[in-house]
Symmetry: C3
Subunit: 258 residues, 3 copies
């Protein structure tokens, strides 16, 4: 089972969740995507989930909790993707990208009468521990089948709306969905499948413009290469990142226009 | 086995501890509460331990090392709680809250002649690796029973003194034991059991005053609600946190008077 | 299997690597040294690896990826040490210290035709996920033997050059290879074996000078003691750190001349 939250790693919340999961079945194996999603940032949670989920084998259960609406009427659900991954989460948009890339096989609303810790009926603010980790661990360990999660949901989950990349004559307009925090590269949401329609070959020069809100913040011509070392140190380049989306970088530097 | 230290996550110390534990028995399962306790902060370690320990099943072994006195004469011990959890730690106050909430069944002083890495007799400054991880792993993996840890200790462990919350007529005075780092909420040490004596109902308004040292830093009236979404965004509220202690928050904001 | 990277813990890259490893064999056990090596800092990766590797049992596989040259012609290899540890890494210097302390038994270049994810032939910038985690997991899980990694390499790996500590009459000149981030101590690369030649006894005073680049930044006389508590709070001391290298600290303080 794999966790993704905005709880941070400096205190005891993540360990409380894991203790609950481990208590359901001590043979469960627990992993993390990250717990350092900025507080309440559902968009970034959705992106980081999609960045890593497909690399896990079929059957993996993900517990995704960025939950500003904890304790309110928002639904709690488990989505089964066409790739046979399971996603346990409040229904608030965290499934946006995996629903798109993996496809939705079915969704069940969690029946809290069965799949919630019984001695925790009073806590209104930590469903990650009392509901999601517990329900996820029951599914991951085979204590319940997917059918026993709760009733099928016949409506789609909450999906965040965003602008998809658009091809226009000899250019593509996309956006920058997330910051590449560690290295300072610019990742766009323009996939290689769309980029190929420009007929750009490795080594060609391409013209790039970046707007922040409505202001032009970068304009330049960069070579399109396979990897950072394809240009001299300190030089800008265009490349396909590990998710096969068009990206910009500076070899051994940071493309920081944040 | 579950670790809690102030070693940080940027270097090799935690991995050295885990390597030692894994070397004792490769079937051991290792988890973390956090390694980001501020350096030498025994109080916060005690708090974070208590925040998560009770969610782990009986029999779980915790290795808790925030150890400014490493290498000096302070004792090393393993406490067994009434809830059958085990705590491996230097005797410096880290057990303060779990001793209170779980109760002490018995304490044994670690016999370093048996339960310390034999090829590490020279290191005076990394008992987390050479003593606590090793002794804890031996207990957790069943290589030794609790009786074989060392002699029973007939005195209580070091306990940090602090002011317990007090009920006075129609108010309660407590303190703020720790910062809710991730979300900026204010957690007090006033439990719901004491709070209930005020006969406040969900939706009632309550008057709150916060002093920092001797100075009044906040005064206000907030609604007492179940969860953040019980008020409009940006509004203050009072609620019971996940440990069932009275707390203050701002919905989708930070109650930052730190 | 134990990971060491500069990927950071805020996003999905580490989880993608782990998903790949777990997909190779769900019985694999995964640990981390750290993922917070400063971006591209091969020296620090080499140091942190050596700080913890020897505490893991023989047979442990380490996947070490700080890889500014990803996608270029640099080799990918697995080194077997004389201590029977395995190190999976781009050949860029990360093996400098473990090669020195553990000794090299043999090195094999990874045959990417066999030991690379077959459906990832297009990604040029995430060999940690597509090559190193995958090849390491195959070795760690016994899917391949060390012989099946690829051909023996008959040249040494890339080793970073640095100045070894030197004994001169009644003094030793060494350097400060890394910052002790968490506590603010000063770790040198002067081992206790060399330090002993000075015939300094516990309790003796020693004269210390620290240069930063060519400038003298500290000069003082400190007692040589076993542990921090060997001096009063706030006082400076010399001691052997957990790696048995001469170090400087301030009891309950930070020796910060960074």
């Amino acid at each position: 089972m794999v966790f993704l939250t905005d709880y941070g790693t400096k205190e005891g919340a993540v360990a409380a969740m894991k203790g609950v999961a481990y208590g359901v079945d001590p043979s469960i194996v627990l992993f993390d995507i990250t717990h350092e999603i900025p507080a309440y940032n559902i968009w970034e949670a959705a992106y980081r989930l999609n960045q890593s989920a497909s690399y896990w084998p079929a059957g993996t259960v993900f517990v995704v909790v960025v939950d500003p609406g904890v304790g309110t009427e928002r639904r709690s659900l488990i989505m089964e993707s066409n790739s046979d991954h399971y996603f346990v989460t409040p229904d608030n948009g965290t499934l946006t990208f995996v629903a798109e890339t993996m496809g939705i096989k079915s969704i069940r609303q969690i029946d809290e009468k069965i799949n919630r810790r019984s001695n925790s009926s009073v806590s209104y603010t930590f469903h990650g521990r009392d509901l999601y980790a517990y329900a996820g661990a029951r599914l991951a360990s085979g204590k319940i089948s997917f059918d026993e999660v709760g009733p099928l949901l016949m409506v789609p989950p909450v999906l965040l709306s965003y602008q998809h990349p658009q091809l226009k004559a000899d250019s593509i307009k996309g956006n920058i969905p997330v910051l590449d925090i560690q290295y300072g590269n610019i990742w766009t949401n323009i996939p290689d499948t769309l980029f190929k329609k420009l007929s750009v070959k490795t080594g060609d020069s391409i013209s790039v413009r970046i707007n922040k809100y409505f202001m032009l913040v970068y304009e330049g011509i960069v070579p399109y290469v396979n990897t950072f070392g394809g240009v001299a140190e300190g030089k800008a380049l265009g490349y396909m990142n590990s998710l096969m989306n068009f990206s910009l970088a500076i070899n051994m530097g940071s493309f920081s226009i944040y």
